[in-house]
Symmetry: C2
Subunit: 357 residues, 2 copies
């Protein structure tokens, strides 16, 4: 394993230290427990939007803290869920009096720990909500997950919900927007190589010199199937089909009831994409794949969407939700409407995503 | 070799097609000869800023075309100089009547071809200038290069000069700024792995499982020396020393005289960095190194700069001048002054770099 690191135990701490010294105008970092938060937090009268998860997916989530996106992000160790005290202390730091919304990728550890954090915050008189991101069409259940995994849609939801929070959406309305945006998003990923977790010191899995894995997770979890290597166009066709031909998906989520102080189960079914839909197209590098190859993918994706009657109205192309040094890419298509587009276009100023300001 | 490509001969063409369909609001692409240009070109009364070079360094240069940066970029095949007709046709497309400034990385093929293009444009009545970027402290002469190679400083010069061109700097004053910014910039790069050029199909060079190459070029050209792997802090110390302890550097450049219609040789010597200087710090991924590791490097670099009395007033951290999938990074420190900072901070809207708008 060759990486630009010092001691393995210090990898997350030192990258947080680097972020803090690089971007003091945008963010601050709290250590023990670890979280990244807006330099100007708390913003009075604004719902605080908080996400988090294992490290190794940079710039997500810490790189998306700042005006117009997250108020705080809680990084676990590499590919390891953060703990409830991180999420709870972050909430206390950034709560501006209008409540806290947790955006939670669907991994068992993340879900449990964010639930505990929500209960702790509520017990202190903070209105809370927790919205699940579960957009990966690759597999139904998987290692670490009951139901679909949370992947690329997370980046889009964080931007859209962050924009609406900035516009002072109240907690209920913001939660509705987050839930809708998640249900509008569908993703699929592929890997050409494994990533290497520093603490493991060797690749998470092996892929042959002429193989790729279709439907890979962002922690190197197995996907649907391995295939012999194909052209960029063929791979894009497979990926687009996994998203566009995906049927309705039903999941059961637990959301918080601030009146009763209890979790309430909800069954949510989303609609497949259909001809005439307008979409945001997100082509993401898993880390080791250069942006030039993403453009080759985008080129074919745009052609396929056009043929299917899907109109790409916005796009995002680059490494935004990565798996360390893994070569590969993911595609996310999110159906849009006027509300989503308005907040996608809103100004954002974070270390990892910036426009309009 | 596993890459997200179709036919090897179509790699550059297809990524340009992808860029064109992804960013029609920002750029257009001309094929045969190939160049990327601003969607709103020509901008009347503004000097057109044009750069280019071999492909494989994305987002540089095509990703830096747009408001506040380049008017056009001429991509060669991977790691291959573009041809004079690309540069000449690009100049004709984007010339807004105030002349054309070519920003040329110091590689023999690039320099020769941009000189020919400048002569062709001048012969058609366009005022032209060509400014050399030669900031790599690693080696004096190298494969493909007489004198120092042009590397990371290129990105910063394109941003600063692009901002000043937008503010309607005339050609002479813009050329002075470009020359100054280049002479204020110093860089060094390291590689943990080789890149793989699609047409070659195998890694450009071999590095052992515990080796890194210090002073690598952006085409995998040999650097100063190979070492056994070290910690991020140790590598950052070596890199910072190569830049900060670098003495005065004298180069002979050829610049165009629009009065006589001839090339004029100039001997230019720059000053080393010294305590009290304010700098822009640019920590760049060569492609395969994730941004999390760049923050570990930045953390140590900030500490070293502080100890040396160098004040980092701006920074840029991410993959901006890459070498395909090479793992590694480069550091650029550019001395700044009020003029440079003003145009660094100016709004920019390109596929690869955006702020303020």
């Amino acid at each position: 394993m060759k990486k630009l690191i010092n001691a393995i135990d210090d990898v997350v701490k030192e990258q947080l230290e680097g972020m803090a010294v690089a971007h003091p105008d945008l963010i601050k970092v709290h250590f023990e427990p670890n979280f990244v938060y807006r330099a100007d937090a708390p913003v009075s009268g604004k719902v605080a939007v908080i996400s988090g998860g294992g490290s190794g997916h940079e710039p997500m989530h810490g790189g998306f803290v700042g005006m117009g996106m997250l108020d705080a992000a809680c990084p676990g160790e590499v590919f390891t869920s953060p703990t409830p005290d991180q999420m709870y202390e972050a909430a206390k730091m950034v709560d501006g009096g209008a409540g806290v919304l947790y955006l939670v990728k669907n991994y068992t550890g993340d879900v449990l720990n964010f639930e505990t954090a929500a209960e702790l915050a509520f017990a202190e008189g903070v209105k809370v909500q927790s919205i699940l991101i579960d957009d990966d069409t690759a597999v139904k259940d998987s290692l670490y997950t009951a139901g679909r995994r949370g992947v690329g849609t997370t980046v889009l939801v964080e931007k859209i919900v962050g924009g609406a929070a900035e516009a002072k959406y109240p907690l209920d309305k913001l939660s509705d927007l987050a839930r809708k945006a998640n249900m509008y998003g569908r993703s699929i990923g592929i890997a050409l190589t494994s990533c290497t977790v520093p603490a493991a010191g060797k690749p998470t899995f092996d892929l042959g010199p002429n193989e790729f894995e279709f439907g890979i997770g962002i922690h190197g979890e197995p996907g649907r199937e391995r295939f012999d290597m194909k052209t960029a166009d063929e791979i894009t066709e497979m990926m687009a089909a996994a998203i566009i031909d995906d049927g309705p998906y039903t999941r059961t989520v637990r959301e918080w009831d601030n009146d009763s102080g209890e979790w309430v189960e909800k069954k949510l079914t989303d609609d497949p994409l259909k001809s005439g839909d307008e979409v945001i197209a997100f082509v993401n590098s898993m880390g080791g794949t250069p942006v030039s190859e993403l453009y080759a993918i985008y080129r074919k994706l745009a052609e396929i969407c056009k043929g299917k009657g899907l109109k790409i109205v916005r796009n995002l192309i680059g490494p935004y939700i990565t798996s360390l040094d893994m070569a590969g890419c993911s595609i996310t298509l999110m159906k849009t409407d006027a509300e989503i587009l308005k907040f996608w276009d809103a100004p954002v100023k974070t270390p990892g995503l910036r426009w309009g300001v």
